[in-house]
Amino acid sequence: MNSTRDDDTLLEVTRFFFEELMPLAKKLQDEGKAFFSVKPNPNAQTYYKKREKTIMHPESFEVVGCDSFDSFEEALIDMWTSQGYSELTKLAPTLLKLAKSLYFVEEQSEDISPFIYVMF
C-alpha cells in the first residue's frame, strides 16, 4: 500500500469516526439507548440469553454482504433494520466507501500482520 493512499484512508476513517459515528453514538446515549450492559445487574435471575436462532439451516450458511461491495451496504442496512436499530442504517454508505479504501491484499511475505489485537 502506498503511503499517500494510507494517509487518505486514515483521513476518511478519522472523519467517519468523529463526524458520523461519535455524534450518532452520543445521540443514542442521550436517548438512553445502549447496545449492551456494561455492568452486572444484581437483580437479574440469570445472565443467559435465549438464542433466537438455535440451529444452522442450510440458508443460514449464506452471508449476504461479504460476497461483494455491491451487496455490502444493503446487507448492513438489512441487518440493522431487522435488529430494530434503523438509526444505524445511515452509516452504511460511508462504511461502504471505507471498505473500498481499506480493502487490503495481504502479501505472504509481509512480516507485520495487521492482526495484532485480540478482539478482531
Partner: protein
Amino acid sequence: MSTTILGISAFYHDSAAAIIRDGEIIAAAQEERFSRKKHDPRFPHHAINYCLEEAFIESSELDAVVFYDNPLFTWDRVLKNCMMAGPRSFDQFKKASRSVLGIKMWVKDYIIRSIGSLGKLDKLLFTEHHMSHAASAFYPSPFQKAAIITLDGVGEWATTTIGLGTDNRIELFQEINYPHSLGLLYSAFTYYCGFKVNSGEYKLMGLAPYGEPIYYDAIRENLIDIKEDGSYNLNTEYFGYLDSSVMTNDKFNNLFGGSPRKPESYITRREMDMAASIQKTLEEVILRMALHTKKETGADNLVMAGGVALNCVANGKVLKKGIFDDFWIQPAASDAGGAVGAALLVSHAYFDIPRKINPNGRDTQRGSYLGPAYKPSEVVAFLGRKGYPYERIANPQQLAEKIAQVIADGKIVGYFAGRMEFGPRALGARSILGDPRRRETQSVMNLKIKFRESFRPFAPSVLAEDVSEFFEMESESPYMLLVAPVRKERCLPMNLRKFQEGDDNMSAVITQSRSDIPAVTHVDYSARVQTVHPSDKPDYYHVIKKFKDLTGYGIIVNTSFNVRGEPIVCSPQDAYRCFMRTEMDLLVLEDCLLWKEEQPAFEDTEDWRKTYELD
C-alpha cells in the same frame, strides 16, 4: 459420490485449514507450522494447499468451502462497541476497521486468489463462530448425544454458548454475549501477570498452584457477578478492552495494587496469587455452568470447545465432580479448531450427511494426528542430500527398544514420527522425550532445550492401561486436556517452609523431588496427562512400552518439539534445525537415528532468539 468440504479459519489468531470427506476428517493443520510464525493469523495458504494435497483433490472439485465465522456480525460488534466506548476507542476503531472491514469481510477474494475456486457450489459459506466451536466439539466426539458448552474470548457477539448435540443436529439455545467474557477475563489476568494474551494463558494456569487465592474475594466483589446457574456478567469499568488495545486499565491496577508485571521480569508472589485467584473463579463458573447444562439438557455426556476449554485444570475438576458420566474436548479448542468445526457443520447441516460414530466407542479425531507425514524414504533422501550422518533401524520393535534405552539412560530425544498433530499440544508425533524419574529432567529440558521459564511443568505420556497406576484417574486423556493428581503413594513430602514464609524464589520448590516421577509432577502433585492407546499411535505406544520393560515405568516425559516462541516443528528440516540449536542428544526422524555428537558443525544462518518472538 463423496462430498468434500474445505474449512478455513483465519484473520484472528492461529489460522488453519481442514478438509472433511463424507463427514470424516481427512486433514487439518495450522498455518504457523508451515510459515514458521507462531500463531500466524494470516490467510492459511500453506495449510489449505496441504489439505488439498492430502485429500488428492483440486479446489474446483470441492463440494463447498466454508469460513468459520460471520464477518458481518463481527463488524456489527466492533462498531457498536466503539459507539458504547466513545471517542477514546478511536485507536481500536482504526485497527479493527483495517482488520475486519479491509480484510476479513473479503475472505472470499483471498480464497479465490489462493486456490482459484470456491468449489462446485461457487459461493463461500459461512458459519457462526460458536457453531463452529460446538461442531468441532460434538461431531468428532464418541457420543450420539451430548450437552455442549463453548467458551472463548469472543466470536462475533457470543462468548459462551450452551446447547445439545444429537446425531447430526446441533442446537445452541443459550448464550452470554460480549463484553461479558470468561475468556477475556482470564486474558486480562494473563496480561496483568506479564504473559502474552492468547498464548500465555497456559502459563498462568501453570503458575496458579504456587499461589494462594487471596484476590478471589476482590474479583468476586468487583469484577464478576456469577449467578447460581453459572451465568456471569463483568463490570467492564475495570477492563481496557472496550476502548483500548490493552486488557486492563488503571482501575484494575489499583484494585490489585499496582501496574502489570513487566514481561520477562521476576515473577513475584503477587502473580502467583493472582493466578490462583482467577483460576478459582474460572473453575467456579465452569462447575456451575456444567451443572446448569446438565439440568437443561439431561444429557449423560458433555463436549466442550473454545479457548477456555484448554484449561485442563478446570476440566479435571468437572470430570471429578461426576456431573456428567463422560466428556470430550476438542483438542484444537481455540479458533484453529473452528476450521474443522465449520467444515463438519457444513457436511452435516448443509449437505445432510449422516454422522458416523466410531463403532469401537472411541472418537473420530484420529488421535488429532491430522497433519503432514514424511515417508522414511523422503527422510533418507533429505539426510543424504544434506550429508547428515544417521543410523537406520527399519524394524519397529528394535527402533522402539533403542529409543527407550536412550531415554532410560537419561538422554533427551527429539521424536519425529508420522502425521503432525493438529492443536496446540504435541502428542508423540513432534515431541521431545525424556525420563520422568529423574529430578534433573525438568530443569534440563526447560533451560537447555526449551529455553523457557523453569516453573512450567512437563506432561507425561502414559500407557493408557497404566494410567491409574500413576494417577488418580480411570478415564483416558489422549489429548492432554485433563489434569489429575499423582497417586498419593508416589508422592514425597516437600519442604515449603521458606516459600511459605514469603521467599518468592520458586526454584527452591521446583528443584525438590515431589514424587518418583518428579519431572512430570507439578508443585500441587498434579500432572497434565496424555494417555497413549496402541490404536491411536502404535509407534509411540511401543516406545513407552519398551521403556516400561526396561524400567518398570510405563510413562515418559513429553513436551512439544520446538524452542520457546517457535511453532512446533513440521518438516524434517525444522526438526533438524531445532535439534542442532538445542542440547538434545538424539534425533529420531521416522526410522533414522541421528546422534548430536556425530553431526557436522551447524552453521546457523539466523539468530533464532530474534526470529522467534518470545511467547
